[in-house]
Subunit: 367 residues, 2 copies
């Protein structure tokens, strides 16, 4: 089976509720659907969500990288030739989301052609993931209402609260209120999206002492080299790195530099192949991971769950899989469901992505 062409389809789906966080706001999912076609008619599918404030990519840059730089070296390869495909793509620096989407579409083809689920191929640990929901900035009451709605409608009991606002008391108040509303059993952690200085971060962590957080993610700017080390040295909570660790080498630098005690893995930026490298690196270094969310739609969330469910180390704690619940629509023919706080993987070959062509026609921006 040979790759014959790669389609990059820009599309836009509005959110019903915009997501506000320290490094930006997302009001609609303006992503690129990537489809890798083969001479046997099979099509591998994945999603590329541009995040300019994190990786510098746009819909246009993703389409150009795939069409102009990657495709000429990928056409003619077998989807199984992943090492060769990556060697070719890695001649281009950066563009992590574009590379990740191609990688996952190749894995999808491998699974489809062999008649096996990609999650099973990767490790096959389980067929489900517990879900953590991300609560964006809002008035405290609205944040509490969001958490309660997710708990009551979807059984979600793990929440990541966005922080990083000024004054920091805004966030402290919100975290205390969410804990009060959910009770002591709920799992809570926070994500600063680089919004605070190291000193603000530590002050906030002390003020949050009684909230019972599990860990805190990316509180300070990635380039605050010494500030981040100081924070890790002085924090009782594990400090997870996210935007600062987009490659295995960045993981090594942050962890060995003493600037992180845990790592967020996002298939949207490292696909399946490099996510496995990051996971194996973290396991070898002896640090924990969480499956993060790149404000994914259903296609991206399914990719995250596919990877997360495959390994014992990633299936062990809830993955961030619920952002799509705030989108007005999506592309899957059979929408994902979160019940009792759990997302079940579809029992189908490949990743299990089946695109509703009518929906794609409605939201695509290239016609």
């Amino acid at each position: 089976m040979k790759i014959t062409r790669i389609e990059t389809i820009p599309y836009s789906i509005p959110f019903t509720k915009p997501l506000y966080f320290a490094s930006g706001v997302v009001t609609s999912a303006e992503h690129v659907l990537v489809r890798v076609h083969t001479d046997e008619g099979l099509i591998g599918t994945a999603d590329a969500p541009p995040r300019p404030y994190t990786y510098g990519e746009t819909q246009a840059s993703i389409a150009a990288a795939i069409n102009d730089l990657f495709a000429p070296g990928l056409i003619g390869l077998s989807p199984l030739d992943r090492e060769t495909a990556h060697a070719h793509m890695n001649r281009t620096v950066g563009n992590p989301v574009a590379k990740a989407a191609v990688d996952m579409a190749l894995w999808d083809l491998v699974g489809l052609s062999l008649g096996v689920s990609v999650s099973q191929l990767l490790g096959g640990y389980t067929d489900r993931m517990r879900v953590a929901h991300m609560i964006g900035f809002s008035e405290t009451d609205a944040m509490v209402a969001d958490a309660l709605r997710m708990r009551d409608q979807h059984g979600i009991t793990s929440f990541k609260i966005k922080v990083g606002r000024h004054p920091i008391e805004l966030d402290i108040q919100a975290c205390l209120a969410v804990r009060d509303a959910l009770g002591p059993q709920a799992e809570l952690y926070i994500d600063g999206n680089r919004g605070w200085t190291a000193a603000e971060s530590l002050r906030a962590l002390h003020a949050l002492d009684g909230v019972g957080l599990l860990f805190a993610e990316e509180l300070c700017p990635a380039d605050d080299v010494l500030g981040r080390r100081w924070l890790v040295q002085h924090s009782h909570l594990p400090i997870y790195a996210d935007e600062s660790v987009t490659t295995p080498a960045e993981v090594t630098r942050e962890v060995l530099g003493g600037a992180a005690t845990g790592i967020s893995i996002k298939t949207a930026r490292t696909g399946f192949t490099a996510s496995q490298r990051v996971l194996n690196l973290c396991q070898g270094l002896g640090i924990e991971v969480v499956m993060g969310n790149q404000i994914d739609g259903q296609v991206g969330s399914l990719c995250t769950a596919t990877f997360g469910a495959a390994f014992k180390a990633t299936a062990g704690r809830p993955g961030e899989l619920s952002n799509f619940l705030d989108m007005s629509n999506d592309l899957l023919a059979e929408p994902l469901a979160i019940e009792d706080g759990v997302l079940l993987l579809p029992q189908r070959p490949g990743i299990g992505i089946e695109i509703d062509e009518a929906k794609l026609d409605r939201y695509r921006q290239d016609r």
Copy 2:
């Protein structure tokens, strides 16, 4: 497809030429053939070579670990349930060769059942590996003759010379003679199997300066913590760790402890799953690897090549794949061949192991 039972068959095949090295001698391959049976009739196969002087395992301990400790938790699983299988096996400490053989037999079943080669499943970089041959202790003339024979009969131009004898001049003389005989184009490196102190090692490396070695492997005892660091600090040559790095955590300790600058990966002790973890860890840490030989027969060498050919990082330099050339016979129905210094992978589903049952009957020790 479910695992129904696991066979562990001890066998013994004499070497035509015993292999002498600093930590022992091998005069016959006394291994355990591992066969994982399924309810669909497919059989996954791998080889377990006990190395008591390295891992403490014996034929009896391997059979007992697999039959008594592992099998009860593996029977009923699908071969795709590798994370669950490992979670079960890892409740038992140590026994790396027993675990690795089970892991590879499961991968063999995955490939066989999906109709695809395991090397392609792992990464699919290439279908061949260049071969490095290991030259054991002997009179200098015999070591030179061994190298020339391998070059002339099999086109091998990369050699690992066993060192670690006393006085060190014995080894220096041998290395100089091999270089003289092979000329400047041949790739040479040395392996001390922990035979020297750090001071002896550095003295030897200085004396070998003109030989043009690529790297030196495991020159000092694994527990010479400070001596090994001192050697790495003072050596111009990269120092590879082998017996001291049988798990990802050991890799982290040796590399971050400054006691190693490269790592030998052996599928005989880390199978495919944990070998990928070690490889990804090394890539994330930014250090080089070599595919090593656990004095494997043809089954084991095929496993090494299956893994080594799958990834760009391992296919880039010759793997140690030729020890079976010194065995009087072997178990494969279609013997491996090394031509022009290259071992070609069989183009078959799974690992490509096909056992000659008559040969197995002849060499098995349990009847």
